[in-house]
């Protein structure tokens, strides 16, 4: 019985538990509830993955109202992939939150953090699972609003301005998306995404309303994705947010936004409209290439390591969009695999920085000098995550790069392949600055006595680092599901 309601449960559990956290108030209780909720959500997602692989697309009618009138939750390969990413990262990060310095800062309001965290998780899961366009917007707003709160909880006063900046940009993005959905509703009279895609050809691809909807959607989603040059909010937000939040958002939020873009461009509008009638591929490719290079170069000159990673995220988003812009199964596979792998590597690296911040209260590269001697396990985890980000074989990052270059060569665009490898070499530069500082320089005088991070911070970080290696060796799940999702997306056009 419960099994039939799994699609609803994975989002409802965090939602209810978010309220429960506020009711319980006690720090430890709230923590326990949040932990169990994320784990339950992750377990549910895994079961959904198994079901979706066996049974194909799962359609769940919310409240028993059949689509297109009621809200449909729809689980295909791409949806469940996103659910796994979001809930997986959510459950690794949740135990980490307990000890993070943040909680000492807002000790008495810890339950609010857990509540916002669960809401954010719920929103991101909801976006990933819903088959209804307006419902998608609602969940997007849930996740966005809660993430503004989470960012504003940062240790530093600058977190407030960062959150505000994100709020403004994020709201513009979300508004664009809702305008697009409204226009689509006007043109087709439906809000169910599958239904819209079937009705769109009748509404006419030349229809100005549809084209306007497409434009609003793409720009809105690009804002949420932080696609270059609309990325300005991201470095500040990730830098000043609490470490836990940076890790969680960097690993999940932008991926879900990329999902929105993929879902609308490929499923709702369809390949024919998006890429044959409208010349969308070229602008995507150009922006993706710019994103791969300029933020990477900027990252080389940052002194705050969190900011280095934030700019690196913007660059990595370039890879995902590049795969999308190739408009092929190979390209989309690369793009989707990279969502997963990037979640693993950025999650790991931000968690490691959280460990460092916990001990020395800073992520400045000069303060991190010589830190490897004091915190060898933490820095070893950083090196591990860094190798994955660079794309060394046997790490997840290598798999992404392999598929991306393969997709570019498959199209015969060897110059694109060259650009991909060059841009990934820049990652060596910005990561090695950190590694050299941590291993080769003398620690500052006041930080000679720093000790290793506590285990409940270190273990989650290492889980993600090891996952980077695991998914670099055994790719049957990460690549297998992504390939299915890519085929479904291309086939939908």
């Amino acid at each position: 019985m419960l099994k039939a309601h799994l699609p609803a449960l994975v989002i409802i559990i965090p939602l209810i538990c978010a309220a429960l956290c506020v009711l319980l108030r006690r720090k430890d209780w709230a923590f326990t509830v949040a932990l169990l909720a994320t784990w339950a959500s992750f377990a549910g997602s895994c079961l959904l993955l198994v079901r979706a692989m066996n049974e194909g697309v799962i359609s769940y009618e919310m409240g028993g109202w059949p689509p297109p009138f009621g809200i449909e939750l729809r689980v295909d390969a791409l949806n469940v992939y996103l659910l796994i990413i979001v809930s997986g990262i959510g459950s690794v990060v949740a135990p980490y939150a307990r000890n993070s310095l943040l909680l000492e800062y807002v000790e008495d309001r810890a339950y609010m953090f857990y509540s916002a965290y669960l809401l954010c998780l719920c929103g991101l899961m909801g976006v990933s699972i819903t088959g209804d366009a307006f419902n998608l917007f609602v969940f997007l707003e849930i996740s966005s609003l809660s993430s503004y709160v989470l960012i504003a909880l940062g240790f530093d006063r600058r977190a407030l301005t960062a959150a505000y900046q994100y709020l403004v940009m994020g709201t513009i993005g979300a508004t664009f998306i809702v305008i697009a959905i409204g226009l689509l509703y006007q043109a087709t009279g439906s809000l169910n995404m599958v239904d819209i895609s079937e009705r769109l050809p009748k509404a006419g691809y030349g229809n100005t309303t549809v084209i306007a909807a497409f434009a609003f959607l793409v720009v809105g989603a690009a804002l949420k994705i932080a696609l270059f040059p609309l990325h300005q909010w991201l470095p500040n937000a990730y830098t000043h947010a609490p470490s836990t939040v940076s890790a969680f958002l960097a690993a999940t939020a932008t991926k879900v936004s990329v999902y929105i873009l993929l879902r609308f461009v490929f499923t709702v509008f369809g390949v024919r409209f998006s890429f044959e009638i409208l010349p969308t591929a070229t602008p995507f490719l150009i922006l993706a290439i710019l994103a791969m290079f300029l933020p990477s170069i900027v990252a080389c000159f940052q002194t705050n390591v969190k900011r280095v990673l934030a700019y690196s995220s913007v660059a990595q988003i370039g890879y995902m969009i590049l795969g999308l812009g190739l408009v092929s199964v190979a390209g989309l596979t690369a793009s989707i695999v990279h969502m997963f792998n990037h979640a693993l590597m950025k999650g790991a690296l931000f968690l490691v920085l959280g460990c460092i911040f916990y001990r020395i209260g800073s992520c400045h590269i000069d303060r991190m000098a010589g830190i490897a001697r004091r915190m060898p396990w933490t820095m070893a985890a950083f090196v591990g995550g860094g190798l994955s980000l660079i794309g060394i074989p046997l790490t997840a990052g290598f798999i992404s790069k392999w598929y991306l270059i393969l997709a570019a060569l498959d199209k015969g665009w060897w110059y694109l392949a060259v650009l991909i490898v060059i841009s990934s070499l820049i990652a060596i530069i910005y990561l090695w600055r950190v590694i050299e500082a941590a291993y080769f320089r003398e620690p500052p005088d006041d930080l000679k006595e720093v000790s290793e991070a506590p285990l409940n911070l270190l273990v989650p970080a290492w889980i993600l680092v090891l996952a980077n290696f695991y998914f670099g060796i055994d790719t049957s799940i990460s690549v297998g599901v992504a390939e299915m999702a890519a085929k479904a997306l291309m086939g939908a056009g």
């Binding site: 190798l387 660079i390 794309g391 060394i392 074989p393 046997l394 798999i399 790069k401 392999w402 270059i405 393969l406 060569l409 498959d410 060897w414 392949a417 060259v418 490898v421 060059i422 990934s424 070499l425 060596i428 090695w432 050299e436 291993y439 080769f440 670099g472 060796i473 055994d474 790719t475 049957s476 690549v479």
Partner: protein, 511 residues
């Protein structure tokens, strides 16, 4: 009973298990070093177990897992890899003994990390040797680069940091920027990355593009140190001498030229390369590297720097042999991997022994040192003669076969290159030895009483020495340094005598 596949797995796994044991016995240096030596010995024994089936013409295979659809991590042993694995695992034992003497004699810090990284490097070198497809090789190649980075930067000072940058920068950017692209291109064109006799590219790509592909491969394999991407090798000499031995003889550069031969024989196919003429440019680049690097070596006063450039030059012998792509030259090139390994490791061991015993690194300071360290300098002469390529030492054979190959390919000019190079080798290696014995005395020598000097120079090492401050007649490096370098020197001799067996083992790769 264990079958051959298990021994392949053990050869690669044992050093990794050793790494953990070394780490666990970190605080107890004696135990740590015993563990190192035992692991090295067991690894060599395991590698030896793989030899009989390979000699019998089999290709033992071990498939680990599928990384990507159709692309497994797979180990397939063929003669070329067998030879490389034997060299690497045998020299690991010798280097371990040497390292004990050197690292202790030199009071190096962080010795546990050193032994750990060394073991990982050996494991990845063996994985390179045994790899059955280009993906497996690439994986092992990158692990080798990364595991040797902490060794190159062992001293953790600014000089080491700079050397580390050059080392990692060149090796990473070439391997990711060029080699990976070449591998992906091969995969797309041929649909396989398996090492196959006769190559996999014939008929799969345009003849005109073969040159481009070859360029990507040859400059992608930065470890082969073809000019102008050779700079990482001289830069890396800041590391302790056992590391130099690892880089120059045991694993790293050997993995580079090994990969070059492997790619030419099993990916392109020697016939395909010769028919398309795509490798002519490579002959000239390799020939130029041979000569230029020798010329640079002559200008270096630092002994390790001189030897480093000598390695750059010698590596290009192998690349040249591959580019000539005849059966003689390829077997000669493969033999040269072995010959150079033993010759160069002897020379580096000597350089290190001199440094431990006298703290001297510059050739100009070494006048008269031969009387003080006759064993070391004697071994140096043997190593030098082998590198030069004179009988009765191993180096003579590989040069002979490469020259035969050049004649076979009707590229007579490269015979001249080889001859000139031998002369240059004499010009930069023999003076080191000569200075040791014939040069005028230096200040430190002058402190010795003249009567003692020279007359008793050949006294046995074991002669009891007075403990007081009277000048020492023979002040050799620790026994742990001197014995290994004599073992490798004798190896040079043995390789001359048993070269026909080596040839017989390698010949099947081009038949």
């Amino acid at each position: 009973m264990l079958d051959t596949a298990d021994y392949i797995a053990l050869s690669i796994l044992l050093p990794l298990i050793g790494t953990i044991l070394i780490w666990m016995s970190g605080p107890r240096p004696n135990q740590r070093e015993v563990v190192t030596v035992i692991t090295a010995t067991l690894t060599f024994v395991c590698v030896l177990q793989v030899l009989p089936p390979v000699m019998a013409g089999e290709t033992p295979t071990l498939t680990v897992l599928q990384v990507l659809p159709g692309l497994p991590l797979e180990f397939v042993v063929e003669p070329l890899g067998m030879m490389f694995a034997l060299i690497a695992s045998f020299l690991w034992i010798i280097t371990s003994f040497y390292a004990i003497g050197y690292m202790r004699g030199h009071n190096e810090p962080n010795q546990t990390r050193f032994y750990m990284c060394f073991a990982i490097a050996i494991s990845s070198a063996l994985a390179v040797a045994f790899s059955g497809n280009m993906l497996t090789l690439f994986v092992a190649y990158e692990v080798l680069t990364l595991s040797t980075y902490p060794l190159v930067t062992h001293n953790q000072d600014d000089e080491a940091k700079r050397a580390g940058r050059v080392y990692l920068g060149i090796l990473m950017s070439t391997s990711i920027g060029l080699l990976l692209v070449a591998i992906l291109w091969t995969w797309l064109a041929a649909g396989t990355l398996d090492f196959t006799k006769g190559g996999i590219l014939k008929g799969k790509i345009d003849d005109g593009l073969v040159i481009v592909m070859l360029f990507l491969y040859m400059y992608g394999i930065g470890k082969a140190a073809l000019m102008p991407i050779h700079r990482w090798l001289p830069a890396a000499m800041v590391a302790p001498t056992p590391v130099s031995a690892l880089l120059h003889a045991v694993a790293v550069v050997k993995a580079g030229v090994f990969t070059v031969l492997k790619v030419i024989v099993y990916i392109f196919g020697a016939d395909f390369l010769r028919d398309t003429g795509a490798s002519v440019w490579l002959m000239y680049v390799a020939g130029a590297t041979v000569l230029l690097a020798s010329l640079v070596a002559m200008t270096k006063d630092n002994l390790k720097a001189r030897l480093a450039y000598s390695t750059v030059s010698q590596l290009s012998y192998v690349v040249l042999a591959g580019a000539l792509a005849t059966s003689f030259s390829i077997v000669g090139g493969a033999m040269h991997i072995a010959m150079h390994a033993f010759g160069k490791i002897t020379l580096f061991f000597c350089a290190g022994a001199i440094m431990v015993a006298t703290h001297k690194t510059k050739i100009s300071q070494m006048r008269g040192l031969g009387w003080r360290m006759p064993f070391t300098f004697g071994a140096f002469l043997i190593g030098a003669l082998s590198v030069i390529g004179l009988p009765p030492l191993g180096g003579a054979w590989s040069k002979w076969y490469i020259a035969l190959g050049a004649a076979d390919a009707e590229q007579i000019i490269f015979i001249a290159v080889l001859m000139i190079s031998s002369l240059l080798n004499i010009a930069y290696l023999i003076p080191v030895f000569a200075r040791g014995f014939f040069g005028p005395k230096e200040e430190e020598q002058a402190q010795m009483t003249d009567t003692h000097h020279g007359h008793h120079g050949h006294d046995d090492h074991g002669t009891a020495r007075p403990a007081d401050a009277t000048p020492k007649r023979i002040a050799e490096a620790p026994v742990f340094c001197v014995v290994p370098l004599w073992i490798t020197a004798i190896g040079c001799l043995a390789l001359f005598i048993y070269a026909d067996q080596l040839y017989a083992m390698l010949a099947p790769i081009v038949k």
